[in-house]
Symmetry: C2
């Protein structure tokens, strides 16, 4: 029985990465939760941060105290049933900031912490509790960002800038070289929607020239493009985005995506479209499939509602003939483990998962033993029960202290653009 539920908002240094939403603030916000059972077992999980998430966790708390950690369906039926039916798309709000999926996000973290507890009680890794491993290690992709100079954090708390400023195609190739040398990734994702489309096309071409077709490429402009521009970029990159790559959320809305797909197919370009913006919940999958708007769905064990939700999404995608990949937000090692278990317990996960992990720093890791290691771009399931790591709760306390001292309470990339780049900046869709 769960007797204690602790909720720790934390702030984590984050470099000034760019996307169509704007620019990352010097700190990314996360929430670390801890459940303790009457048997003396504790489980932990990491989730989106800021005051929206915090409020959801505090509302969920009374349902979790006293519960049996195995009784997850019941918790969902009691708690998730109240989920708002409003727009959960990530067209305007970044993942983790939409109140319409706040309940399933909070549930997801509790599920992960309960599975951590169950795994420790049983002496088995979490993915083994969920049907066992389809694979022993979760492959991730090199997640490249156009960025300003700076490694994240502020003042005395500023971090080293490992990758420097990267605002040109050549700088991105350098960034990718560094990242692959360090982590061994075998697939590459470029966050687009930042520079003129011609420059992003050039970036992808330079990456292909540098790394060759053995490294599948994906680009994700987060809806920055019109249908016309999406088709133009797609046709320009028809070779580069084939063979295991994809074009992710080029334009806003399922209708726009479907139109892009129709026009690309009419021009003989079969590159698949992926989405985590227009498709964020189970309700969206069938319409997206029916309209051929999306061929690859990006799962996420955080905002889809948990590790089992990723498995369920995999089954649904398999039944519909859709591909499955995984989305990422800025995160620490605990989320990386949740993502790795989700991937390994989901046979349908055929694409390398996204991860922001290279953008965070050793100084901010909350796991005992420091940052997790990648082998050939993959995270191996630890040979330990539960999620497979011990949380350094003193470190969590330090990061929470920082959270309460800092002014950041929600992710607002547009505000950062106005502060640092252009006082008049607004998110305009389509921008090109």
């Amino acid at each position: 029985m769960i007797k204690d539920f602790r909720i720790h908002p934390v702030a984590v240094a984050d470099p000034p990465l760019r996307s169509s939403y704007g620019r990352h603030a010097p700190y990314a916000l996360r929430t670390v939760i801890r459940l303790d059972t009457t048997d003396g077992i504790s489980g932990a999980a990491e989730a989106h941060g800021g005051e929206g998430s915090l409020a959801a966790f505090h509302a969920l708390r009374e349902h979790v105290l006293g519960m049996d950690p195995f009784a997850l369906h019941r918790l969902w039926m009691r708690w998730g049933a109240g989920e708002s039916a409003g727009d959960r798309s990530q067209t305007w709000l970044v993942p983790g900031e939409n109140p319409n999926d706040a309940r399933r996000r909070a549930f997801a973290a509790v599920e992960a912490a309960c599975l951590d507890i169950i795994g420790k009680a049983v002496g088995r890794p979490v993915c083994d509790l969920l049907g066992g491993r389809a694979r022993d290690a979760a492959p991730f992709s090199a997640y490249l960002f156009y960025k300003h100079g700076g490694g994240g954090g502020e003042g005395a708390d500023a971090r080293e800038d490992e990758y420097g400023e990267c605002l040109t195609p050549e700088a991105i190739v350098r960034q990718c070289r560094q990242m692959i040398a360090r982590y061994g990734f075998r697939e590459i994702k470029l966050k687009g929607g930042v520079l003129e489309p011609e420059l992003e096309i050039e970036t992808i071409r330079l990456l292909r020239a540098e790394f060759g077709p053995g490294f599948p490429l994906r680009i994700d402009p987060n809806c920055a493009w019109s249908v016309e521009t999406s088709v133009r970029v797609g046709l320009a990159l028809r070779e580069e985005l084939s063979g295991g790559g994809y074009l992710e959320d080029p334009t806003a809305g399922l209708d726009g995506m479907a139109e892009v797909r129709r026009r690309l197919l009419a021009a003989g370009a079969g590159i698949p479209l992926a989405s985590n913006v227009a498709v964020t919940g189970f309700e969206d999958v069938v319409p997206a499939w029916r309209d051929s708007a999306v061929q690859i769905v990006l799962s996420d064990p955080h905002y889809w509602g948990g590790i089992r939700a990723v498995q369920r999404l995999g089954d649904l995608c398999q039944a519909l003939g859709l591909g499955l990949s995984m989305h990422s937000n800025n995160h620490l090692g605990l989320s990386l483990l949740i993502m790795a278990h989700s991937c390994c317990a989901t046979p349908a996960m055929e694409f390398a998962c996204d991860t922001h992990y290279p953008w965070q720093h050793e100084e901010d890791e909350i796991l005992v033993g420091g940052r997790l290691r990648f082998e050939n771009g993959a995270v191996r399931i630890p040979d330990r029960p539960g999620l497979g790591a011990e949380v350094d709760w003193d470190q969590v306390a330090r990061l929470e202290e920082k959270y309460w001292k800092l002014p950041y309470r929600r992710r607002d990339d547009a505000e950062e653009m106005r502060k640092h780049v252009d006082p008049a900046w607004k998110r305009i869709l389509p921008r090109w």
Copy 2:
């Protein structure tokens, strides 16, 4: 690690029940399997019987010996990948006799036995390992059959005939009264396709008159009717099959079902169509949904590939807006537990499940303590780890001895019709 895999074909006395497939033989065939681990834990499961199932289990054996009981995804990937892609429909072959689903049926039993082992190792009921209970007890329906006199078994091994001959509408009402008095069922299913459609319509009407609208009604003629007849019966019973009831497999094939649905809707009759004949695997669900051929899918933890497969099917049905119910074959208490855990672990299971359990006898039960009890038509998840019952292996040995002495090696209801009812009997579709 699994060190032993025992496979026991058994024969179980079965009354001469009728369906459009013909007449049940005096014995139903089942297989009971037992897995033993190096830790000294044993798990058991019950599956379809006869030589086809037996061959599949013997072929699977080498993959199971030495495996970790948690490693179920891997076993499926290794073993299920070789599944034949041929027709798995149950239009001509009864469930359990189609070689095209033999692999997933064998896998299902191994999964159930592994979950039984894991549950015992962890000290928790199986459904708790699968996300926890959506409900504490699995509701079942009163499964009524037109039948000849006789309780099943042969010669000195003949069983008492609790329900007597039931070949008229009135006799079925009496059968239902007896069954509900004994088990407390709250939903009613009539196996049709046996008498003239007018008599089956009359049977349903008499049942409604006797039990009222508080007892939803379903009728399942197993494809015995033409599209015309299906529509005629559907319109005649539009009231009786509404409000939680359904019309199950009135006619053969998805095209026929879709046509029945179209015509019923055109006549303003929205009674849902259910299927376990045309829809037997995940590959069938999306086409059935797309053509509006089926509104309710009948799961089965045996031939759909396990308890997790029922959960996955529930998720798929939920995503598509389809209803979920559960199919049954003749079975003993161990299968009843597998079905109850499947139901309780699947939030989407909104209809009472089918069960043949009332047709079997105390003398044939293989559980220590005898037959399982129903409360208000439902089977409560036992407060014991694993599937929740101990198998009486001496009794299994006795039933296996009987299997080897008897001539029955596969279910052949048509042959029984020729033996006992009409030497020229053949399965004709549509019959009416």
